[in-house]
C-alpha cells in the first residue's frame, strides 16, 4: 500500500517535466473541459463562469476558503447540482445534463457517506452489483481493492467498527471499484486527525498515479493542495483566481488574493515608478528607495500593494543608511520596531510594527521587543499589485 515518497516524487517530476513547466501541457489533449460554467441556488450565483481544462491522469486541486464555490463546482461536475449555464465535456462528450451515474465520475464524500447497514465488502462492491456484475467478479474485485488499500481482513466489518482512516479508504475503494474516468474528492481528508492525514495524502497520490485516474480534489488546506496536485485551481467568490502548478501559484501569484491565500499575508503600501530599465520604489516612512526588476504581472506607476511571507524577510538590527546609497538593488528594505517575539518552532517569529502597519517576520535568532530592525525582502519574494 505504502508507496515510497521518493517514488511519488519521481512520478510527480516526470509528470511535470521540471519546476518551470507551466503545468498544462499543450501536447496533451483535454480530457475534462469546463466552459462558462455558472451555477447557484435561491437567486445567489455561486459559480460565475468557470473555464477549466484538465488532461487525462492529471491531479487537480480546487483550493479556496469556505464559500468560494469549490464544493458547488465539484457537485456540479458530479451531476448533483444543475448548472445555470455553460457546459461540461468528458473526452469530447457533453455530460452537462446527464445524471450523476452517466458521467464516468465517482465522488468520495467529505463524510465518507458509507452505508452503515452494509459491510465493508458490500459497500465496496455495491457499484459493481448495480452494474450487474457476477458475484464471483464482484468478490474478486473487492478483494483486490481491499488489498490495494490495506483493508484486508475487514470485509465483514460494518463502518461503525472502523477507524476514521479505514472508513476513508473504504469510501475511496467504493469509488474506485467502478473504475471511474474521473475521481472527485470532496475534502476527503478533513475528518482525519493530522498524523493520519499526512499518510493518507501520500497513499491517495500513489494510488491515483498507479491507476492513472484523473482526479479533482477539493480542499481548503493549502499545503494539502501543494503536496498532492499537479495543478492548483484557486477559487475566489465563484471565479477562478489562478490556475497553475504549485510552484506557479506560490512563486508567481496572479493577484493580491492569491498571494494572501498562498501565505503572503504581510501587506504594506508602496509607491513605484516604472521605467524601461526597471522599477523604482520611492522611499517613504516605511522603506528606503530601491530599484527592482520588472515583475511578470502587469503594474502601473503609482501606489501598489506589496505582499510577502514572514519567511521571506531577512531581519537585521537597524542601520541608518548613509543617504547616497539606495536601499538596495533587487530588494526593498523596510524599517520597523519589534513588538512581540515568539517561538512556534523552526524559527523565531516577530510581530514588527511599521508606523500604523504591522507585519510578521521570521528570523533564526530572536530580536527583543522594542528593538529597531531592518526588514529586507528580496525582489523575487516581494509581490507587487496595482490597485484594481
Amino acid at each position: 500500500m505504502n508507496m515510497m515518497p521518493s517514488a511519488i516524487a519521481q512520478a510527480r517530476s516526470l509528470r511535470k517535466g521540471g519546476e518551470e513547466d507551466a503545468g498544462h501541457d499543450a501536447g496533451q489533449t483535454d480530457f475534462l473541459t469546463i466552459r462558462g460554467l455558472e451555477a447557484g441556488y435561491a437567486g445567489t450565483r455561486v459559480l460565475k463562469g468557470i473555464d477549466l481544462s484538465v488532461f487525462k491522469g492529471e491531479f487537480i486541486a480546487l483550493l479556496g476558503s469556505s464559500g468560494c464555490g469549490k464544493s458547488t463546482l465539484l457537485r456540479t461536475l458530479a451531476g448533483f447540482a444543475k448548472p445555470d449555464a455553460g457546459e461540461i465535456r468528458v473526452a469530447g462528450r457533453d455530460v452537462t445534463r446527464l445524471g450523476p451515474d452517466k458521467r464516468g465520475m465517482a465522488l468520495v464524500f467529505q463524510s465518507y457517506a458509507l452505508w452503515p447497514h452494509m459491510s465493508v465488502a458490500q459497500n465496496i462492491g455495491y457499484g459493481l452489483k448495480l452494474a450487474g456484475r457476477a458475484k464471483a467478479d464482484i468478490a474478486s474485485r473487492v478483494g483486490e481493492l481491499q488489498m490495494q488499500l490495506g483493508l484486508g481482513g475487514l470485509e465483514q466489518r460494518k463502518p461503525a467498527e472502523l477507524s476514521g482512516g479505514q472508513r476513508q479508504r473504504v469510501a475511496l475503494a467504493r469509488a474506485l471499484a467502478v473504475q471511474p474516468d474521473i475521481l472527485l474528492l470532496d475534502e476527503p481528508l478533513s475528518n482525519l486527525d493530522a498524523r493520519i492525514r499526512l499518510t493518507v495524502r501520500h497513499e491517495i497520490i500513489a494510488l491515483q498515479r498507479r491507476l492513472g485516474t484523473t482526479a479533482i480534489h477539493v480542499t481548503h488546506d493549502r499545503e494539502e493542495a501543494m503536496v498532492m496536485a499537479d495543478r492548483i485551481v484557486i477559487l475566489n467568490e465563484g471565479a477562478i483566481a489562478q490556475v497553475g502548478t504549485p510552484q506557479d501559484v506560490y512563486k508567481r501569484p496572479a493577484s493580491a488574493f492569491v498571494a494572501a491565500f498562498m501565505g503572503a499575508e504581510n501587506c504594506l503600501p508602496l509607491s513605484i515608478e516604472k521605467s524601461g530599465a526597471g522599477l523604482h520604489v520611492h522611499a517613504n516612512d516605511l522603506c528606503e528607495g530601491a530599484s527592482l526588476p520588472i515583475p511578470s504581472n502587469p503594474l502601473v506607476s503609482g501606489p501598489v500593494e506589496a505582499r510577502f511571507r514572514p519567511q521571506a524577510v531577512e531581519l537585521t538590527p537597524h542601520q541608518p543608511q548613509t543617504g547616497t546609497e539606495p536601499g538596495g538593488d533587487g530588494a526593498v528594505i523596510f524599517k520597523g520596531r519589534v513588538e512581540q517575539t515568539s517561538y512556534p518552532g523552526g524559527a523565531w517569529r516577530h510581530v514588527v510594527s511599521l508606523g500604523s502597519h504591522s507585519v510578521v517576520a521570521d528570523a533564526q535568532r530572536s530580536f527583543a521587543p522594542g528593538e529597531a530592525v531592518n526588514l529586507r525582502v528580496a525582489a523575487e519574494d516581494l509581490f507587487l499589485f496595482s490597485p484594481a
Binding site: 448533483f80 445524471g99 467529505q110 457517506a113 458509507l114 455495491y126 448495480l130 461503525a160
Partner: protein
Amino acid sequence: MPPKAPRNFLGLVLIAPALAVVVLLFLIPLCEAVLGAFRTDAGFGLENVSKTYALYSRDIAFTFVIIALSALLIALISVLFSGYLTLGTNARAVALLRWLYRWPLFVPFIVVGQILRTFLAKNGLMNNLIVSTGAVSPMDTIGFLDWRGVVIAFVWKQVPFVTLLLAGAMASLDRGTIEAARNLGASRIRLLLEIVLPQVASTLMVALTLSVVTMMSVLSVPLMLNPHSPTMITVNMAFRINAYGDYGVANVLGLVSFAITGLVAWIYLRATLKENIR
C-alpha cells in the same frame, strides 16, 4: 454538594407523582384485570378462558388478521410516501404531499368512522362517484362496510403518523449516503429499499408498534364500520360489559389483546436490542 442520602431522597420525591400515577392507573387495574380473568363464581379457574374461546375464537383470529393486514398496508404506504418525500424530484408534488398527508392525524377515530360510513356504504359517496363515471351500474355496487372498511379506516388514520416519523428519520440521514448510491447508478426504488429503508428500519418498527397498540384499542371504528360478526375484540369487550356485566370474559379478551400487543413489543425490543449490541 449535598450529602448522598438526602439527594437520593429528593430524587425519590421527584419521581413519586409519576410513579403513583403508573401504580394507581396502570399497575393496579392491570393486576385487577388479570385476576378478574380467572375469577369465577367457584373461585379461581379457567371457566372464563374456555367461554371466551368458545364464543370469540373467530373474533380473536379476525382481530389478529385485521391488525396484521392493516400494519402491513400502513408500512407499505408509509414507506412509499416517506420515500417520495425524501427522494422525490418534483418539488411541487413533494410540497403538495407534505402538506396533504398530515391531515388525518388531526381527525379523531370516531370521526373517521363516521366519514367512512357514509363514504363506503353501498349507496355511499364512493359508489355514487363510481356509478357517475359509468364504470359500474347502481345494481352492481358493493358496500365496503365490513372488514375492508375497518382496514381502510386504520390505514387512513395511521399512515400519516408512521409517515411523519419515517419521513423525519429519512430527512435526518446523511444525504451523502443517498447521493453516493445515486452516483453509482442506483435507481429510485433501489435507493429506497437498499439504502434509505435499512437505515430507518428501527424507526419503522417503533412507529408500527405504536400503531398496532393504537389500533388494538380502537372501539369506534369496528363498531361503526363492522358491527356484525366476526368483529374486533374491542367490540366484544364492550358488549360483554354493557349487555351482560360479564367482566370475567371481558378481562380474558383484554388479556388476549395485551398478548397481541406484547408480541409486537417483544419483536420490536428484540430488534432494537440486537441493533444496540451491534
